[in-house]
């Protein structure tokens, strides 16, 4: 079974619309970037470990489900353990008519405005902003035969003013995403740390280097064959 990486979780708007490579621009290279599998549907279970400056850790077991149909992308992440956090959910719907994002926390379910500032996901270093559609100002960096490197300026008030994205050329899998401050210091990094035997990422890390903390995701189960119902992704059911 061929599946590419995880992490529809972060980092870019994922248009996922096939475009002939020859016609690709940096913008749509970025838009095609994949963090989880590019299969039409998949579900996975993973363990999120959140480590703070002192080395203390917290863990959450997550269930992540994604479904793609013509022009539509649906993504649901929910905490399955510990039990008292079970109601935490993140839902993102992307259709030809627009995009909607909902976050269910202990304070209730809230719809996130399209231009809302990013919020932490489940207390980790991953944020809702990591799912927002990518901008159109990517430029090609130093690429080689295996990777594509893209760069873009970012909103500096979040602590970084430049993002450098490294994609695997063959499948546009995100291998690394670096966030640099105005003086060029690396302050945040997403990186694939390990791959499974099938050549897909099984361990990824998002490090907040400025605050010396990090969040890691280790995939424990992946299934792209089991049918997934579209009713899982109804905001009214959160």
């Amino acid at each position: 079974m061929k599946w590419r990486l995880l992490l529809d979780f972060c980092l870019l708007g994922l248009a996922g619309i096939a475009v002939p490579l020859a016609a690709q621009t940096p913008q749509n290279e970025a838009a095609m970037a994949e963090l989880f599998s590019s299969e039409p549907q998949f579900s996975l279970k993973c363990r999120l470990t959140i480590e703070d400056q002192t080395g203390d850790t917290k863990t959450r077991d997550l269930s992540i489900t994604a479904l793609r149909t013509a022009g539509d992308k649906k993504f649901l992440a929910q905490v399955t353990a510990p039990s008292f956090l079970k109601n935490l959910k993140f839902l993102r719907l992307e259709t030809k008519d627009g995009t909607g994002t909902w976050l269910k926390t202990a304070r209730g379910t809230q719809r996130l405005a399209p231009q809302a500032d990013p919020e932490s996901l489940f207390g980790s270093d991953f944020t809702t902003g990591d799912f927002q559609p990518g901008s159109n100002d990517w430029v090609v960096g130093v690429s080689d035969s295996l990777t594509i490197v893209l760069e873009r300026p970012t909103e500096p008030r979040f602590g970084w003013s430049r993002q450098i994205l490294t994609l695997r050329k063959a499948d546009h899998l995100i291998l690394r995403s670096d966030f640099l401050s105005q003086d060029g210091t690396l302050v945040r990094r997403y990186e694939v740390k390990a791959f499974s035997e099938a050549g897909v990422p099984s361990h990824v890390e998002l490090a907040d280097l400025k605050n010396r903390r990090r969040s890691t995701l280790v995939v424990v189960a992946f299934d792209s064959a089991k049918p997934i119902s579209g009713s899982l992704f109804l905001p009214g059911s959160l």
């Binding site: 399955t80 039990s83 627009g98 719809r111 602590g159």
Partner: protein, 429 residues
């Protein structure tokens, strides 16, 4: 009765793993909070235990436990429900707390949910709106959903204990013309929760939830969820009889009908919402007293009904403070227009405002909340601040301080002289 509850709860937890669930999670939670000030303080404690489980399309949750509220122990099943989920919707039956709306404590689900502002303040925002057991049928097709609810019980009227510092004493007269003595003793009367099937509350709501926003229309018919406690004055007071009270508060269970329209739209970096609600035959106090027939020397406060329009407009905005966390702001303005009664045609109009700012550390290590509200006229209101520290995973320590202002004969001003603070801890496993 209490022992039966305990045995039931223990059985639930012990037998839980053997019910053949695909997923089974035991749940334990506890909390202690103390409320103190210039009046006698009170202690609240809650210990809950239970489990949730899933069997294919069926899931359920059973949580109950003991609580101590203002010195009185109670035993409750707070969550006891079963839900069947299918592609086209689901059916859920049992007891569970209703969720709150986007403005943190104002529910956008009129109908069954009850709750009072004083309860919210007294528990530093931790109070869960009580809800009676009910059956909910939900049908979903695409962006449309329809929800129907019915309950064999009435919503519980909410009134703080007469000894509570949150008891609304400004609404209680201290003397009555014609009586030679001041009113001293007060008691409230509990009413049975069962109602006849012909008075079962029913609720129906049609919702369209699209990417651009969501809109819903709904209706409710049943007992009014706004607590209404008309007074009964015991006229022939005998100070030698300890069981005789000057004043008795009995909740009036009056049926009302309401319809509403809600709209929520994300705009740029924020969210806007509105709710418009019409209520027919809401009971209220009228001038004068009526002699209670039947021999007892007592007077009942006169009551009447009127139709009411409630309008609410709100907005929320969330701002990232980077690794420092998140700042959320929201505000709501509301109007309450009493359309008048057969005796008094002129409508009454009141307006109010509530708003809040909260900061939450990016890792969820702590939060600060400040909420405030005022009815605008007369000048009175409340402000409430709470600091929360999540010192360990699932362990929380919080401190809440409410402040009130206004004249002593106003709804919030009556609490202005009170210096109250609340300290609490919660534990989840």
């Amino acid at each position: 009765m209490r022992h039966r509850h305990i045995v039931f709860l223990v059985l639930l937890v012990l037998l839980g793993p053997s019910v053949g669930a695909q997923e089974f999670s035991p749940l334990f939670s506890g909390g202690v909070s103390a409320e103190a000030g210039d009046q006698p303080g009170s202690l609240h404690a809650v210990v809950d235990m239970g489990f949730d489980a899933r069997w294919e399309a069926l899931s359920g949750q059973f949580i109950g436990g003991a609580s101590l509220k203002e010195g009185r122990p109670t035993w409750d099943l707070t969550h006891a429900w079963l839900e069947f989920s299918a592609e086209a919707g689901g059916l859920k039956a049992g007891v569970w707390p209703d969720g709150r709306g986007p403005a943190q404590f104002r529910s956008l689900v009129p109908g069954f949910t009850t709750g009072s502002g004083t309860e919210f303040l007294a528990t530093a925002g931790t109070a869960t709106p009580p809800s009676p057991g009910k059956v909910v049928l939900k049908l979903v097709t695409g962006e449309w959903s329809w929800t129907g609810e019915v309950s064999p019980w009435r919503p519980a009227p909410s009134m703080p204990d007469t000894t509570s510092p949150w008891f609304p004493r400004k609404d209680v007269p201290t003397s009555i013309p014609g009586l030679l003595y001041p009113l001293r003793a007060i008691r409230t009367v509990a009413v049975p929760s069962e109602v006849g099937w012909e008075r079962w509350p029913v609720r129906s709501e049609l919702r369209w939830l699209a990417l651009w926003g969501d809109i819903s229309v709904g209706g409710y018919h049943g007992i009014d969820t706004q607590a209404f406690f008309p007074l009964r004055l015991i006229y022939a007071y005998d100070p030698n009889l300890l069981d005789v009270f000057d004043l008795v508060l009995t909740p009036r269970l009056s049926p009302v009908s309401m319809v509403w329209l809600t709209l929520e739209v994300p705009v740029a970096a924020g969210t806007l919402w509105t709710e418009q609600r019409l209520t027919k035959d809401r009971p209220k106090v009228a001038a004068g007293y009526l002699l209670v027939p039947g021999g007892q020397t007592a007077l009942d406060q006169n009551t009447t009904t009127s139709d009411v329009w409630e309008g609410l407009w709100g907005g929320a905005y969330s701002l990232s403070a980077g690794s420092w966390g998140q700042v959320r702001m929201w505000t709501e303005a509301s109007v309450y227009r009493d359309m008048g009664t057969p005796e008094k045609k002129a409508p009454d109009f009141t307006a109010g405002w509530v708003g809040g700012v909260s900061w939450e550390e990016s890792r969820g290590l702590g939060s600060l909340d400040v909420l405030a509200g005022t009815p605008w006229d007369p000048v009175q209101g409340w402000l409430w601040a709470r600091a929360t520290w999540n010192w360990m995973e699932g362990r929380t320590l919080w401190l809440g301080v409410p402040v009130f202002w206004g004249a002593a004969d106003t709804a919030w001003g009556q609490f202005a002289s009170r210096r109250v603070w609340a300290l609490g801890t919660t534990w989840d496993q």
